[in-house]
């Protein structure tokens, strides 16, 4: 009997104007998304490889002297991700390059992005289409699932038979889900068909698994809105009232709450600014310089002529290391505070299923703010590895003073770091690593759990509501 209800629902939906409009709209959007992605991905990949090769070539040149390897300001760019087709993750506006040497790392920066003057709206990716358009379609398909049948008089006829109410409910749910799955799957296929033939695109097994994971997550997300639609429909006798209520709920859940993250973030803590950072850096630098004598006599002064009696290389090295370490701490603290505030705001918006879905999709696709934060962490680890390499190679040179510190002037004139050449093949190079499976699961398990919870809550609500629904 449940299957009969499901088939009836599917047939009714397939023959309705709203399904046709939805299908056309969704397919066009997926096609546009795929088409634009291919061009964009090709350009971004070309830019990325050009800049990466330029960085490596410059590093190779500097392998002629170990100290130049230490002081070379490497620039690492964020590699464009294939799965940004699924979840763009604010890629256009999040930091995309990282500049650092062995001693210091600038805060992540934004460079070379498209055209800032383009109209102020972000790209269409799968997450946008599914989270906004398809969730809207879900409500349009289900707003009159109960109230519409009641108004038509068919609900009481159906329940006059020996069909349990829960079967009717499940039939409507699965009917709506199967109907929604059609534009979703067709849209995904259209998008993939456009993207796959591109020569720059290679989808390996892991990527396919991730795409499947995003598709399943999408169904979980859409299921929330189907249950929501059925619940609201079973609370009212009039379809038009249901539609109005559902639209308001949709606007709140999909548009207002995710955008309200900024309000939540501001309430939770004050946003640290670039101006604050510069002021703090000035303050800590001045404090250390004013007390430079505690690092040793004449730590604050130097001459390039090593024979000058006032020079004190070890003291100078300690001073410079203290300055750099403190500045690094200030920058890291600033970066962590920015990140913490943004993530707090994001966590607070997780009363919206869209925010949960978007976050989980970004983690699966390997995009978004978590990735930025992870790359920054990896760069810090790489700095440590590179510094250790410089130290160990420096110890092999008897002519060096073995005082690895961030003062380029003394490195050149005093040879605080070895000037001997190194084999470029042995120099550690930065390579971005994707999140490990454990980390990936850790980041998404809560989101998946929350989506399931939303489903359970709305299912329970619609179940209880329909059991008590007056079908006359």
């Amino acid at each position: 009997m449940t299957w009969r209800v499901i088939f009836k629902e599917i047939l009714e939906n397939l023959l309705s104007l709203r399904f046709v409009l939805s299908l056309v709209l969704v397919i066009c959007l997926f096609a546009a998304s795929g088409f634009v992605f291919v061009g964009k991905y090709t350009d971004q990949s070309a830019d990325y490889w050009r800049e990466t090769n330029k960085n490596l070539a410059a590093l190779r040149e500097r392998a002629g002297a170990l100290y130049e390897v230490a002081f070379y300001e490497q620039t690492v760019w964020r590699e464009p991700k294939l799965l940004s087709l699924c979840a763009e993750g604010f890629e256009k506006t999040l930091p995309n390059y990282f500049r650092f040497n062995v001693f210091t790392a600038d805060l992540p920066g934004v460079k070379g992005r498209g055209n800032f003057a383009l109209p102020h709206f972000s790209d269409i990716d799968w997450v946008f289409i599914i989270s906004t358009v398809l969730s809207f379609v879900a409500l349009v398909l289900t707003y009159d699932s109960m109230s519409g049948e009641k108004e038509a008089g068919t609900l009481r006829l159906m329940l006059a038979n020996t069909i349990p109410r829960y079967k009717v409910l499940l039939g409507k749910y699965f009917g709506a889900m199967f109907t929604l799955a059609i534009p979703l799957i067709v849209g995904l296929l259209v998008s993939l068909i456009i993207v796959i033939p591109s020569k720059d695109v290679t989808i390996d097994a892991v990527a396919w698994l991730k795409i499947l994971a995003v598709a399943i997550l999408s169904l979980l997300y859409l299921s929330i809105f189907v249950f929501l639609g059925i619940f609201i429909s079973s609370r009212s006798a009039h379809s038009s009232n249901c539609m109005v209520l559902l639209l308001v709920v949709w606007v709140v859940l999909v548009i207002l709450l995710p955008s309200g993250g900024r309000i939540f973030a501001d309430i939770s803590s004050q946003s640290p600014t670039q101006v604050d950072l510069e002021r703090r850096l000035d303050e800590v630098g001045k404090e250390i310089w004013d007390n430079s004598d505690k690092f040793g006599k004449n730590a604050g002064s130097m001459s390039h002529d090593l024979s000058w009696p006032g020079n004190n290389p070890p003291a100078r090295a300690r001073l410079k290391n203290a300055l750099t370490d403190t500045a690094n701490q200030v920058r890291d603290d600033h970066h962590n505070r920015l990140l913490a505030q943004a993530l707090t705001g994001r966590n607070l918006t997780c009363i919206s299923p869209l925010a949960i879905y978007a976050r989980a999709s970004e983690v699966i696709a390997g995009t978004g703010i978590n990735r930025c934060a992870d790359i920054y962490r990896q760069i810090k680890e790489y700095q440590v590895v590179l510094k250790e390499y410089v130290r160990s190679k420096d110890l092999e040179d008897p002519e060096s003073l073995h005082l690895v510190n961030p003062d380029l002037g003394t490195a050149r004139s005093w040879k605080t770091i070895s000037h001997k050449p190194v084999d470029f093949g042995t120099v550690p190079k930065f390579q971005e690593r994707d999140l490990a499976l454990g980390e990936f699961l850790k980041l998404t398990i809560w989101d998946i759990g929350l989506l399931l919870l939303f489903n359970l809550v709305f299912f329970a609500a619609s179940f209880v509501s329909f059991l008590r629904y007056d079908v006359r």
Partner: protein, 488 residues
Amino acid sequence: MLGTLIKKEITETILDLRFVIATLLCLVLIPLGMYVSIKDYEQRLGDYNTAIQQYEQRARGDRYDGGNFRAEGYRPPSPLCVFSSGLKDKINMRVKTQFNGNYLIENSSQDDNLQAVLFGKIDFTFIVSTVLSLLALIFTFRTVTGEKENGTLRLIVAGSVPRWKVIFSKMLGNYIVFLVPFLLSFLVSLLFLNSSDVFSLFTLPHVAAIFLLLIITLLFLFCIFNLGTLISVLTHSSVVSMTVALFVWVMLALVVPKISPMIAQVVYPVRSRQIVNTEKAMVCAGIEEEQLKEEAALYKKVLIETGVGVERAFDDEDEGTRRARDTYNSKKGPIFQKYQERINEEIKRIEDDYTNKRNFQAAMAANLSRISPVCCFTYALSEISGTGTAEVSNFSKRAQQFQETVKQNIYDHFEFERYANEYGWSGGYRTEEGFDAGKVPVPHISNYRHIGLAGALSVCWMDIVLLVLFSVLFFAVAFVSFLRYDVR
């Protein structure tokens, strides 16, 4: 009769659930959005003042020593950005002048906007263009079809009521009811604005701009009301009317704004900034290589003429080498000048070419998106609020003037020298005789004026005209269609 019909529409709408929801949403969202925007503006203003203070401290500390000083100019945030964020987070705030005339415009608060990136903005423009436009369609989608389904439409028309009065009363009645909560919440927002310490509401430019913003908003809402009524007239069932209205809203408010930049990028691709920077670096490197060759040839010639000899070019300094280097340094000025001008011209050419193409792409995207009244409204409000492309151009012009002023007052009193010494080629700035850099006041962009109302209107007049045209078009089609509408 018209008055009676309007009263009937008003009464009917006020007693409906939609009015309650609209009132609640307006009274909560608009003042809340304004409150958040005011806080954001206050913070930006605080940042601006702090940045100026820090710059002055740095400038006084530098003492223009050896030409290391670089004048900076800052742009204060536009006060009306509380109404529309627009391009606020992307518009640059600082100009860094250079000795060679190639100033840099940059955003001094580059990475402290993670929240803006992740969450977007709930400002007045967003609330009106997204939430209120949807509410407006909800108000109107069954204005005709609902009455038809109830059977009351044929009763009204069966009386001697002209059809034009019926349709007119429906449009006006719903619109008037909707305006009440909107205007109330707008007033509350203005009260919040007035209570802020950093915003003076009652100045002529602000009053005029806010008044214009209000008019444009009312025009936009009227346009959407006409659209909703049109959809209701073109369909014969509330369900179909609602479905069509909602899909139209999704297209206009969500899809068109996003898809038009994508189409513009495909139709008219522009090279990335990385490629442009690479091109500039390559061109400069090529010219500098030529310059070095010419300077080296001159140095060689001087060494031979003074009898020092080429092999002693970078020997320790003695009488002979000092004389040779002084002779060379006095002669190489025109060469340096010539190549610097070439470099500046090439950089300017590449940059102008890139900027023109980028602006063309942006204009194409904006024009494509103007089929949506939502986009027209957003552009108009952002220009008037001083967060649109007109303000970007305004700041660029001021930045250029600032650069020229600083160059005239300070940089032209320094001369860059590349000279030869025992270590090879070195360079540095030498102060002109008689010029005391310490006596020159720290340069600022003083009395910065954001784009005025006239300037903004000159850019967004088309958007306002389009809103009027859309309103007239929707009304006209709805009117004509209703005259032929089957009321049975």
